[in-house]
Symmetry: D3
Subunit: 283 residues, 6 copies
């Protein structure tokens, strides 16, 4: 099947998070595994990280691109929501909905709806409501978005990268231009990456084979995880990161009888076709 | 692979319940579906139903055999625990463990651990602990079971039926004799049929295609569900049964976007291999 | 007691929901039952349904009036909040509070505070906070509402219907004009209609005698529930609606030992005067 | 309607507890209120209190009779289960079921199923299962109870008092003799007195008018609540009791907007006939 | 250690609440106890109480100062958020964050995140997010706050009192002026005063020795708690207040084996150094 | 203070578990830490481990003694309850209560009340009820224990070791003989070691400094944790144990901001004296 530039190949899985490096920490292994399964994956970061204690937004952009390559994601973009001020406004919902209509993901990974960082839990609600809006057939997003925003998009504060397609589309063309007349889209499935919050997961995804690459995708954020003075009390030392990441992944792995895993919550009940195929030993 | 009479073909799924007709009501559709998938299924009723308001234990035995055929189960047996007095004793745990070692199920369905009828919730705990015991390699069940029990088993109060194997084994031989030196066995998976209790299921199994047969398996208990004077206040009228069973199945089906379903609880977290393959629409 | 036009008869029960047809689906039977008990009931729809996949806002208005007659509600009005964008803003809270001061309901039914549709759960919070505001004696709603809104109310985007009083008051007079100097009012009781969400209800209301009429009030939304192409994947077929509605009502009825019922959640503890009068058999 | 001695007037409400003085502390006000409503009430204490730090079983028996008069209960009896060793055995279940068949209560109050004292939470389960057994029409309690027990009942270790009927039946006749051929009986409603445990009640019963009498029923246990050396660290001082009892009753009262109340949990959902009649202000 | 006027002594504990008199009712005893332990304590009221049924904002200001003295708080200020309209906006978060950077509390007490009054639960979220913002080193609050606000602060609608330092700083200097270049600050600990909501506390603080003074700090709000016509149905009679306050304090005290206590929730797990030092008897 | 042999020094902390090596895995670090704080600690294993897949009861006894030395416990004993059949019987409760009266611990650590192994969760209830019984002043344990048991205790199936007192008391004398007339004792505090179950702990105890020793105490069970054929599917490889134990300890440590920790649940609310002394950063 050929697709015109106006109809990019839909994403199979899109992870939405507040900050560059959130996805790497909460579901990077899962994204990589999905890519290795042959799925098209993507990451939407809502902010550009200008409020981070360490590094600049520019540093982060470069690092995010590196991490994306390590995780083999097909598409990554950062919106221009202010770091530290992710709010569930109509305009923000529309911005996300526009991306959803353009990328058409089947599965969306959102952060869990409780947590320490307000940006994280607000992203969870904002992302949920954007998924809902994106599916309303009578909603004309381009008319609904304030003019000021459309103008701003002429000077793309947000950069979009399509890492795996031979012929790249610039962020402006790829992410924004074609959205004007894109049909409605509602993701089939929403799951919540819960690693940042101490909540019992509904399920985990084994990432034993992806563990090292996922760790490297975190280390790709050199401005964050290199030992330095700034934020010394808030950040673990470089050598400590592997230990922490491994302990978390191992803990969730042990819940399911595997080595390393990432935890997720889903709201819906499960649907099982064959009882003998349910994994995870009971006793 | 040939199997000697001493090593019967293991069951894929064994449903354990307190009373004949419990399994039909809580997971009959699932058992039939598993059989239609080609799995070997079984039912172990702990009591013979002598305390039921309607009908005798003999009536029930005949009806249970009819229901078993409708649900295509390969094996069904009723133990001799007193109806209304299912207790989690050492002896009872051993009786169940002996069956488990003989039938070697991969999946065991137990009743949910809360409910209205003490026999139901006690069966849940008793069944769980028997599954645990059955796997202890150093446990010699035959020595552990009181002599009185062994003697009683000479006059088989419990009848065992193997409905689908060409060459039947009598209940005495099939159920008791070969167990003496059977190796330990622990089921891989335990799930809890929760239809009797108003609890949110972990997952449901669609039984749309099995719904009518499952209803017939309930109607097979003619002594229970034919309109009559005894228990008129406790039993629904015959014509009402279809409505009730359908409403329950439909309710649980709607939770998962299918027509009819049966609800189950599992204690373990799930393990998902591919996010895009998770069923049940989110939004 | 005579009441001047400025002091309309208070409502006994007011159901607030986001969309026309929500009330019919979640608590229509209860509203009808209350009317049959001799209570004055009302419905406040916050939006006009312009975002619905099927039909127009005008279609909905006509259908809502039909449904209201079937459910014997005394008063129904739709506010002009944008469909798909119900937000808990100060202005919206004031709009609702003005209605509450005008209609003076003793009981308010709100949607449950979790759910699939953002408009539903936001209506729950918005409605709660409006009930709170309406009772603040020092709050002057007319001064607090932005001028733009007061102006808009000259051209009533919202229509109000008083279905059961001999001498109708036009929406403008009845709903808006007299509110300027209406005294504060706080509903005595808030309950949450929970049918849209899989949560255990605090109580149910039997609607066996009202079931057919309530079903007809849903069918009154012909633009929604007539078989058609638009939204074919999101809407059940016409013939399927009765089955679904009945299964839900039956399920909740069975929880309380009655045939059909609608589920509600309340936050407060109960207060029982006579233990022997508590309904619902335990065992 | 005349009732022969063999068919005593059924109780409307029966409170079952482990120790004399438990009922007084958890639901004494409610029992008194029910009696004042014209209901026949009763108390079944499972033990005789021989393990109490203070006083003897004989002291307790006298005090219990005094308390019963204060609370206007029609019937009170203490079984002979060992204090500190209330166990959920078949024999104990039968003993209780026999009482239930004799007293035929419509409502049974049990202790909440969690708590500090094992006798309390075990009584909850034991009482529940006895209520279930008492309703099994095929269960012949007299045959089922071990002979040793029947013999023991000739020398009534348990004393039964019928405080309000003109013509008293001795404990032996009233409580034990007629039970031999009493028909099955299952209480309609079971509620759980939860004051001993910090759990949110489903409902409370206002006992403002009964508060003083209920306090006196506690003080009737002079051997317990008179200041003395034994158990000085475990028992509150006499003067402190009023304060504690009042604080608890006030706390639960405030939950429902009344002065004093006692808390209860029920497992079933509620069934409301008229929304405008639900008590307890929401906001 | 000397501190320049620009660097006021940090607060050890700061309680944030929506309305003057909230802190007195939910954690006044705890604040007083902390002061008696030698800690510097403070109260930040977000509104000035102009919407209260009784009294004016000016009355409240005077009464709040009296209460503050009784509770020995070192610092108290009221912001100018509209009473009845506490909203979690960016501007409000910044206003609070500015206070937090100026007062530098180690512990912040917030209201519990559920409750009857919207101002209360919104204050909980608003306060949480302000604590987060205050710690972002790259956040320049003065630039971020709208000009209109900075101007308004020239005419201090909010009054700040420093009750315990010999040389007072005027509210303008102390609270607002030096904040321009104050360094980031994030409180170490956030706890939630839960007395207004019926939730099980994580821990309580004994206030037996502080109980009378705390009661006086409530009575200091004479415009609220003197018997009068306005709000007669919403306010308890003066004589009733002691009873209610005592009952609540006693109830929470009994949970921990002390006389009077105030309840708190914390989100984090505890960290115990010595098991033998854990208070509160188990059995 | 001198203590006669009849009155051994009370334990500060006693950990009760079903199997030798349970304590090492769930709270070994905490026990060691308590010993290093100068507290007298003890371990009571209820069974002798004869049902374990690997090794014999004799192997286990030797290994348990080694582990006890590593953890610096002052006292360790194994009762003779059958492995795989820990039951909450009167006799078993008395056996434990006798130990409790002899060892007089202030704090008792029990297993959490849910779990995979029936022996674990049954030990939790059994231990709780024994703690209750041990405090009943009128309970004469020696008379209450069946004669058969007293006889059995002449040939001590259970061995008791006092590892840290200069002058050892033999198990028979130390553990059993003096208990006959020991006064009642009720532990002040019961906490539940929850590491075996995926439940959110109430608190954790940091064991960073004890981590290596605790790991060695696990490795002391050479018959279990040396690589071998038996139970190869159920036991982790030797090299894997450190990883698993570390991941668990790290996970619980991270919850509280420390490196390694062990998790505990307590039922009571906390009691905090000084808010500024609460550990664990909130934000």
């Amino acid at each position: 099947m050929t697709r015109s530039p106006d109809h990019p190949i839909p994403l199979d899985v899109l992870a939405i998070a507040a900050h560059r490096d959130d996805v790497e920490q909460t579901c990077g292994g899962t994204l990589l595994k999905m890519a290795e399964h042959g799925h098209r994956t993507g990451i939407l970061d809502l902010t550009q990280g200008e409020m981070g204690t360490r590094g600049t937004a520019q540093d982060r952009a470069r690092e995010a691109a590196d991490a994306a390559r390590i995780l083999k994601v097909s598409w990554r973009q950062a919106l221009d929501l202010p770091d530290g001020r992710v709010e569930n406004t109509w305009e923000n919902r529309l911005k996300l909905a526009r991306i959803l209509r353009a990328q058409r993901p089947r599965v969306v990974i959102l952060p869990y709806w409780k947590g320490r960082h307000p940006d994280h839990y607000t992203t969870s609600i904002l992302g949920y409501e954007a998924c809902f809006l994106a599916g309303l057939s009578k909603l004309d997003i381009e008319s609904a978005l304030p003019a000021s925003h459309s103008e701003r998009s002429e000077e793309p504060a947000s950069e979009g990268h399509d890492f795996r397609r031979a012929k790249k589309t610039s962020s402006k063309e790829g992410a924004l231009a074609p959205e004007g007349n894109l049909p409605p889209h509602r993701p089939f499935k929403l799951v919540y990456a819960s690693l940042y919050h101490d909540v019992r997961p509904t399920f985990v995804v084994e990432i034993t084979a992806q563990f090292e690459a996922r760790l490297q995708s975190i280390y790709a954020y050199k401005s964050q995880f290199t030992d330095q003075e700034a934020g010394r009390n808030d950040f673990p030392a470089h050598d400590d990161i592997r230990d922490r990441v491994a302990a978390m992944a191992r803990f969730y792995g042990m819940l399911a009888g595997v080595k390393y895993a990432e935890p997720f919550v889903q709201k819906e009940v499960g649907l099982v076709d064959d009882l003998t195929a349910i994994p995870v030993k009971s006793i």
